[in-house]
């Protein structure tokens, strides 16, 4: 990645560290994002995702390290960065007591877009995000998913090259999440770079590449497929315990089996990692016959559990 020419790099981070007092929120993070890429930032709450984004948007000065966003470093003048990026904060930041139109006009005016041009742009973006209600509606009366669409419109009014979306789909319905991700893909299709954080693992599948963050550090960075392949080199079994035996001695017994590397709950089911593919049959024999057993492809959630929660080290 380092060797790629700058013209195709939208975001470049080198050894970024952010400390709040003694506490290190972001620890020596390096990564770069290509132009037009959908880059996913994954991690539990408090991992340091928002802090990283705030540095990239010019809202926070890093303790050390270098960042370059849309070709500019913060030292070149924050307004250079601020005019080229759009930021949708993880908190809902539209004004509840203003109408949709008033909110968007306000955002536009702050960006120096005025008059007829602003009106056209608002119309265009509301159509893009699929907003079909009256623009005179107060934001407080809109459902969460629609609010997020309007927020997105507000953050891209000035046609930024890079869009930072911090947990854009938290707290909205699955249907609204699905629609939102369609918009993200459309944005990328128009050549925008999209830097998005989420803690929904299924959403991360939409990203071209994912950085997994834990305690301020990047612990993995790859495409979804690459992450799965590198994290799970051995078979993954999914078992569904029969209702009668949901609680039983089988669980500690299996866990103690030398060929079982880990068992993690996965909804009603369990995901079981076999350390040695040759001993797959042996493990299967240990599982009570009333259980449903299937060999499965790992999901990103499995990756996340394995890398972050279980502290698996490659």
């Amino acid at each position: 990645m380092v060797s790629e020419p700058n013209a195709v790099i939208a975001v470049d981070i080198r050894k970024l560290t952010v400390k709040f007092g003694e506490f290190t929120a972001v620890d020596q993070v390096s990564l770069s994002v290509r132009k037009g890429e959908i880059f996913g930032f994954l991690g539990a709450n408090g991992a340091g995702k928002t802090t990283t984004i705030r540095v990239l948007c010019g809202l926070l000065v890093p303790t050390s390290g270098h960042v370059r966003v849309a070709g500019y470093a913060p030292e070149d003048g924050l307004e250079k960065i601020k005019t080229r990026v759009g930021y949708m904060s993880q908190r809902f930041t539209l004004y509840d007591d203003l109408t949709v139109a008033e909110n968007l006009k306000f955002s536009g005016s702050l960006r120096g877009i005025v008059g007829r041009k602003l009106e056209q742009r608002i119309e265009e973006l509301l159509e893009f995000v699929g907003f079909s209600r009256a623009t005179g509606a107060f934001v407080k009366d809109l459902p969460g998913g629609i609010k997020q669409q309007v927020s997105l419109a507000a953050s891209i009014l000035h046609d930024p090259e890079i869009v930072f979306l911090d947990e854009p789909t938290s707290g909205v319905t699955p249907g609204a999440r699905e629609r939102f991700w369609k918009l993200i893909r459309e944005l990328a299709g128009k050549g925008k770079t999209v830097f998005v954080t989420t803690h929904y693992m299924d959403e991360a599948e939409h990203c071209e590449r994912i950085a997994l963050m834990k305690d301020g550090k990047i612990i993995a960075l790859d495409s979804p497929g690459g992450l799965k392949a590198s994290t799970f080199r051995t078979p993954l079994l999914e078992i569904l315990p029969s209702r009668k035996m949901a609680e039983g001695s089988w669980l500690p017994q299996l866990r103690a089996h030398p060929a079982v590397e880990s068992i993690e709950p996965y909804g009603m089911r369990y995901h079981l990692v076999i350390s040695d593919p040759a001993r797959l049959g042996e493990v299967k024999a240990q599982i009570p016959p009333s259980f449903e057993i299937s060999q499965t492809a790992p999901s990103l959630e499995d990756v996340f559990i394995r890398l972050v929660e279980a502290g698996f080290i490659k």
Partner: protein, 373 residues
């Protein structure tokens, strides 16, 4: 790296803030109803005990001019006169609480009126009686006008002077005095409280961060957000002024060119204090509490609005000097009641300048630290 301040961005923030104000019943109620309620509560207190205030009169002149004056007083309906043989007896009546006021007419009163000299009659008031002093002052004002125009037609109207002097309470502390002081209270509430709330709200719901992610400069945000409250504060101040003058007939003896700069300085000080509070707290609840503690309560209790500063322990007499309200109340009362100009009010004006400087410095420093990465 500096970039240009843009009026369009300031106006965008200002417009938005006006929407917030117009759509928030709490702000509107506070801005409109509060001045009215305060003036009514404090102003109406003056209306009690309206008739028949006992006044001890010593007429040392005994001319038809002096009798004319006492007659005007007696027939006004406000005072019930008792004659006293000597100035000392008149004072005794006042001290013994047999009278609320004493009128002493000196020997040469009639002669002075006839000539081109200034004729003086002295009214002594029991300054410790809050409820009546303001009232008497107001009546005397009217009585003097009637006397000049009706009963003493042959004299030039300017040479009758009724001097008032307060006994027992040098710095007069009357309810009358509270009405000009109300200007300070109303401004304190609107400026400190509303400013700190509006900016804290922006922090609290995260929109400050969004504002800062655009090219807008922090100073533009502040100007855009403060101007509507400056206007609101001025509006409320005008309202209190008009109510005081027209509704309660409080005299205005000074110059508006002195009062208005005073009001502006005072509002700026409190807007800045509100800004400082919101930058420090970032939370509406906390901002509200801090505004009450550092702005509203001291303005009411420690500024001389209710309790005279002279009667406070020495520590407080010094401590209160850091309260803009203390100085503004001096300006307000000075211009309303004593007709003071810049010369007499140099100290309060200077103090307000200094306090403004300090507050602006503190707010800018904290604001910069927080907002300019």
């Amino acid at each position: 790296m500096k970039w240009q301040m843009k009026w369009s961005r300031i106006i965008a923030v200002l417009r938005k803030e006006v929407f917030h104000i117009l759509r928030d019943p709490f702000t509107l109620a506070l801005a409109l109803a509060l001045p009215l309620i305060l003036v009514l509560v404090f102003g109406l207190a003056i209306e009690f005990n309206i008739r028949e205030l006992r006044m001890a009169v010593h007429d040392g002149d005994r001319t038809y001019q002096s009798r004319g004056l006492t007659e005007v007083l007696g027939s006004s309906g406000y005072f019930k006169l008792t004659n006293e043989v000597s100035p000392v007896a008149a004072m005794g009546a006042l001290e013994g609480e047999r009278a609320k006021a004493a009128l002493i007419i000196e020997k040469n009163f009639g002669k002075q009126l006839g000539s081109e000299q200034v004729a003086r009659a002295q009214v002594l008031l029991d300054g410790s009686d809050n409820s009546t002093v303001g009232l008497i002052l107001g009546y005397l004002n009217g009585v003097q006008k009637i006397a000049e125009h009706k009963f003493l037609p042959e004299v030039a109207s300017s040479n009758l002077e009724i001097r008032t002097k307060y006994l027992f309470n040098g710095e007069l502390n009357s309810r009358w005095f509270t009405v000009p002081g109300l200007l300070a209270i109303v401004i304190a509430i609107l400026s400190i409280l509303l400013t700190s709330l509006t900016i804290a709200r922006e922090w609290e719901n995260g929109s400050m961060e969004l504002l800062l992610s655009t090219p807008i400069r922090p100073l533009e945000i502040v100007i855009g957000k403060l101007v509507p409250y400056l206007v609101l504060g001025l509006g409320a101040a005008t309202f209190v002024y008009l109510l005081a003058r027209l509704g309660f007939g409080v005299p205005f003896r000074g110059s508006h060119f002195v009062l208005i700069p005073g009001v502006l300085l005072f509002i700026t000080a409190y807007l800045t204090q509100g800004l400082l509070i919101s930058v420090i707290t970032r939370r509406q609840q906390l901002a509200m509490q801090l505004s009450m503690m550092t702005g509203l309560l001291p303005s009411i209790l420690l500024s001389g609005f209710i309790f005279p500063i002279e009667n406070m322990p020495p520590f407080f007499q010094v401590f209160t000097s850091i309260l803009p309200a203390k100085w503004f109340i001096q300006i307000s009362r000075g211009t309303f009641l004593s007709g003071s100009g810049f010369a007499e009010l140099a100290t309060p004006f200077l103090a307000l300048f200094v306090l403004n400087g300090v507050l602006i410095m503190l707010a800018t420093k904290n604001f910069k630290k927080d907002l300019e990465p």
